[in-house]
């Protein structure tokens, strides 16, 4: 079984009718029309990556002759995902409650006014008095301060508000893309988790990586924001 699996799979992946899953070209439009559900336009990169993760895993499990790894991994992870979401309900409710109080008290407006020059530059499409701005600022502060479990509720709230500005489309708005790019590469002043890990491993100086981490994350985030700005213009409205 082994050599056949290895040789056959690459052919299967690049077999013509599979291609519309990965990319669009005039050549493959012919096939696309035959597949119900396949749409015109750019194929989501997420589709490709998701498919790659699962298919490569399955192939390797077959190669090792241990198919049960896949079954177990899939089922356990699905259960784990629901467990995570259920645990998130508590954290989420708590932080959203606190956020509502801060909002009613006008604290978020004060924060938004203080950081207006900065936000105007990053999110030109969001009015500075809009609730989305408040949630964005809270999310970024939570990320920077390393309050990991507070960042997700604020971030999801920010997405909800931005989706209102996006008029409920299925396509991500520019502000959303910028926001997520900032989130995925976000500056953290103090990586508490890593410091804890180093401390428990008996490091002589657990915090010596704070400086290097700050450098790496700042470079990553700055470059990401620049690329985001370029892509915003290049990608157009399409």
């Amino acid at each position: 079984m082994n050599p056949y699996v290895v040789r056959f799979v690459p052919f299967f992946l690049f077999f013509k009718p599979m291609c519309p899953l990965f990319y669009n070209s005039r050549l493959h439009n012919k096939f696309k029309k035959e597949i119900p559900g396949a749409k015109e336009g750019r194929t989501n990169m997420m589709n490709f990556i998701w498919l790659f993760l699962i298919l490569s895993g399955c192939v390797l499990a077959a190669y090792q002759g241990k198919p049960e790894i896949v079954t177990q991994a899939a089922l356990q992870a699905s259960q784990g995902a629901v467990k995570y979401a259920l645990e998130l309900i508590g954290v989420m409710s708590f932080w959203l409650g606190i956020m509502k109080v801060a909002e009613e008290a006008g604290l978020i407006k004060i924060l938004a006014r203080l950081l207006k020059p900065f936000t105007k530059l990053l999110f030109p499409s969001i009015p500075s008095q809009h609730p989305a701005m408040g949630a964005i600022l809270l999310n970024l502060s939570a990320n920077i301060l390393g309050l990991g479990n507070a960042a997700t509720p604020f971030g999801l709230k920010a997405m909800e508000e931005m989706q209102k500005l996006n008029k409920g489309q299925e396509k991500a708005s520019e502000a959303m893309c910028t926001f997520l790019v900032m989130n995925t590469s976000c500056i953290t002043l103090i990586p508490t988790m890593v410091i804890g890990l180093r401390l428990s491993a008996g490091s002589q100086n657990p915090t010596e990586i704070v400086g290097t981490t700050l450098f790496a994350t700042t470079v990553g985030m700055s470059v990401a924001l620049i690329i985001d700005r370029i892509m915003r213009k290049k990608w157009g409205r399409g």
């Binding site: 509502k100 109080v101 890990l197």
Partner: protein, 177 residues
């Protein structure tokens, strides 16, 4: 330094809660009713992201458990060494965008086998702290509001990760070598 860090993370949340609630109460906000109104949304928001969480975590788990990463490291060893990247760090670099828990596990393993104060330990620590779990954030955040077209954000997010890793390798070579 360690103590300062620990103090900040110990005090941040209670201080925040205290001052937000006090400030609101002084401004005449009905704090209790207001908190309830906000907290109500927590449930629906958390439930709405379940399908996206399941899809992502399931795929990552299959990928991780079957050992595709080890394959990358095994066959790419020569290439990475030629680029003066320690091959032991590659699984971490590949796992970081997909799974926060998985990456933390790899970091812990590197720190424990090579020692926290070795070059590899420091590099792994720097990498772990310098980016976030790109795919997790994208699927969950976009999923929660029903966005189907992610446009360029996946590409930019991954590119940011790559640049952070290169920056981490560069700065660690500079500082710790």
């Amino acid at each position: 330094m360690i103590q300062a860090v620990q103090q900040v993370s110990r005090w941040a949340v209670p201080v925040l809660i205290f001052f937000i609630l006090l400030f609101a109460a002084l401004r005449g906000v009905k704090v209790y009713e207001c908190f309830i109104k906000g907290a109500e949304e927590g449930f629906s928001l958390a439930v709405r992201i379940i399908p996206y969480l399941v899809a992502m975590m399931m795929a990552v788990s299959i990928f991780r458990q079957t050992g595709v990463l080890q394959l990358f490291t095994k066959y790419g060893e020569n290439i990475f060494e030629a680029l003066s990247i320690p091959p032991d760090i590659i699984p971490l670099a590949l796992m970081r965008p997909f799974s926060g828990g998985g990456a933390l596990g790899i970091t812990a393993e590197i720190i424990n086998t090579h020692g926290p104060d070795s070059f590899l330990g420091r590099l792994a620590s720097t990498m772990q702290g310098s980016t976030d779990t790109t795919f997790f954030i994208l699927t969950v955040y976009f999923g929660s509001v029903g966005i189907k077209k992610y446009r360029y954000s996946v590409a930019v997010g991954l590119l940011a990760d790559l640049i952070s890793f290169i920056a981490a390798i560069y700065i660690c070579n500079l500082v710790f070598m």
